[in-house]
Symmetry: C2
Subunit: 415 residues, 2 copies
């Protein structure tokens, strides 16, 4: 049996591991990138706290111990469900089972031209671009003596009040108040203005009211202004318009929404409001029993919860489940239906602050931050990454410094 997995994110890697070294099973995992990315920590790369290699590992190295798995760096172009083949950018591959785990990307809800002035945060390349912009803004402020221009460079607007937006806003607050304060002698990073914009009534809407309010207070302590019920109506290279108010800034970060990739267009699948493919209880596409969808790409409705959110734990559980279901079928057993086990949710807000919600248990402050820290290190792939991220965090915590404050140019050729 040949199982093809498209995508090396949480869902794809977990599916591959569950199929690794299993009898009578051959696996091909394709991904357009060579690395698996630990996305929950990507904002720390954007905020110069971690290096890209500390939260990313080569997919083929993660899977090298499984003799039956082949990894190919290539892009999924199309699916031919009648012939059970996928088209990639260099050849066709035939499958018996196909697991789609291609994930999601940033959406601007129809204003895709905003992207160049408001990068999203889904890839390492975007994270280092954000890092370049944020650090350059402080350098630009240092270069000018005009208070108005300093204000312009030191204004940051983060769009989207979910965990990513909150983490970005908190990290900029922390960076400007602690890390950079001593390093600049002309501009004063402590004057940095940070606005977190959320279209809905609340930031961190998935959390309970008490924790949401605590998060707002923690953000405000770091100098972040939280603007809820506020909608971005325009972005250009010098300003962002929120409702009718125009804010002068070139530093806009976008954490407002994601949209699933579209790998299965010609299957014409039913999709939800995020473009995710609506799946059966066994995660297969209706009418295509041997094609499964997992992770951010899958729209799965669960009793008592509703549509599952596009989160890492969901992707991991679906990846593993899907692989095990295929093994069951190969061994002559019936398929099972997926059920997500909610282990709780969390978000961090700058130095030593986080909120954690597990069922009725609600935690905030330093202890919640410690839990956040331990869990993120636990799930990071590979002993080496865990160890280095732990050391980096310890060092940053004690020294108030950030370890990866590099402004890299986009071109490599010499001038």
């Amino acid at each position: 049996m040949h199982i093809v997995i498209a995508g090396g994110g949480f869902a794809g890697i977990n599916a591959a591991k569950a199929l690794g070294n299993k009898k009578d099973v051959k696996v091909t995992l394709i991904d357009k990138k060579n690395h698996h990315l630990f996305q929950p920590l990507l904002y720390q790369v954007a905020m110069a706290g971690l290096s890209p290699a500390e939260i990313a590992a080569p997919i083929r190295s993660l899977l090298s111990k499984y003799r039956n798995i082949r990894v190919l760096q290539t892009k999924l172009m199309d699916i031919n469900q009648d012939e059970n083949t996928i088209k990639t950018d260099f050849k066709d591959i035939t499958y018996d089972y196909l697991i789609l785990a291609c994930g999601a990307k940033t959406t601007y809800f129809g204003n895709e031209n905003w992207e160049c002035n408001a990068p999203g945060l889904k890839t390492i390349e975007q994270a280092t671009e954000i890092r370049r912009r944020v650090l350059t803004a402080f350098e630009d402020a240092e270069r000018t003596d005009d208070p108005e221009m300093q204000k312009f460079h030191l204004t940051f607007v983060i769009v989207g009040g979910g965990p990513t937006g909150v983490e970005l806003a908190g990290a900029i607050g922390e960076m400007s108040r602690f890390t950079l304060a001593k390093d600049f002698k002309n501009a004063n990073p402590k004057l940095t203005r940070i606005i977190l914009v959320e279209a809905g009534k609340n930031i961190l809407n998935d959390f309970s009211r008490k924790l949401r309010e605590r998060a707002v207070r923690d953000l405000e302590k770091l100098g972040v202004q939280v603007w809820t019920s506020s909608k971005v109506t325009d972005i250009d290279d010098k300003s962002v318009t929120i409702g009718n108010e125009k804010i002068q800034t070139a530093n806009v970060l976008w954490a407002a929404g994601i949209k699933a990739f579209e790998p299965a267009k010609n299957l014409n699948p039913k999709t939800d409001y995020m473009g995710r493919i609506v799946v059966e209880k066994d995660l297969s596409i209706p009418g295509h029993k041997n094609i499964f969808v997992t992770g951010d790409l899958a729209s799965f409705e669960q009793e008592n919860i509703g549509l599952l959110p596009p989160l890492a734990p969901v992707a991991m559980q679906q990846g593993t489940f899907c692989a095990k279901n295929i093994l069951r079928e190969i061994n002559g057993k019936e398929r099972l239906g997926f059920a997500y086990k909610d282990k709780g949710k969390m978000a961090t807000i700058g130095r030593s602050k986080a909120i954690v919600e597990v069922g009725k248990l609600k935690l905030s402050g330093f202890f919640a931050w410690l839990i956040w820290l331990v869990i993120h290190i636990y799930y990071l792939s590979g002993f080496k990454n865990k160890f280095f991220v732990f050391l980096n965090w310890s060092w940053s915590y004690l020294s108030f410094k950030k370890g990866a404050r590099l402004i890299l140019s986009k071109k490599w050729k010499s001038d």
Copy 2:
């Protein structure tokens, strides 16, 4: 007294540190990059062993404890020696003393169009571009079943037999034999062909015959073919021509020559064959007593040695010396003449092998490699970088792995 330093490399940083918190002295250091780079380890970034942030640190953070030093990220455009001002890309700055420490870049000896097919190794951007190309070559080899195409992708040509070329060739040898061997299932990285091309009679020409021969043997053990007295006559996107022999490869790395930057064109200075400015004994430009030149930009002839080579130790000593000379003059003392103290030279050849030459002492093999390792860690800037590089090396040594095997795309916008 206002002292302007142009360049945050070894010379510039050491000059700034020697002037830090000194009475009656104000310092402005400008650099077009925001980071100081530990260039001797740059090849390890290109070879996926270290992350950029591990060998680079923000200049302003290195100098933040000195109250009298201001750091500006800007480019030196021109010098107006009559008015004692420099022109930068955003304003003019007046100086009493000017220290030029702008360094050098890669030269292709008139064939500058070769650059896009044979990147040099002077900046982090170039290092990550080389990393991208080298890792992509192995991915491309894995994708094809055609032995000829696999051979094409797994052929590497390194031009230039100095320490950088030797280090790159050795590292590719090590990577293909050890690190990648298990990760690829279709291509065999052990078949990688590596050619080190040197136009002169010997590689590592500054070392004694015994050590040079040892280095060649060590390289050959790693599968590197050493072609001396061989000149590259053409490079295109699919081949490199060495003499009359055409080698089919897209993987050409250039470590053959450097050329000084030209910050002082309108001073019309006398330059040497590398474009370096010929300086007086006190490192000033003849006829311009208050303009000093240091590091790779300076052409300094010393008795018994001849022209000093463009090496980190020379730059560090000249930077510090130059700053102290200025302080002497400000305090009413006479200027001194510079003299380089040669502390020896070294090069490393893959895992556990190096050569070290200090006066008559000549070392090779594992012990020389340990010395190489200790000295490089000692000179790395900042406690954090030292500690992390040491840990990274320990981990790589024990695990045979490389920690930063990321292929990053050049664009950050989503598809």
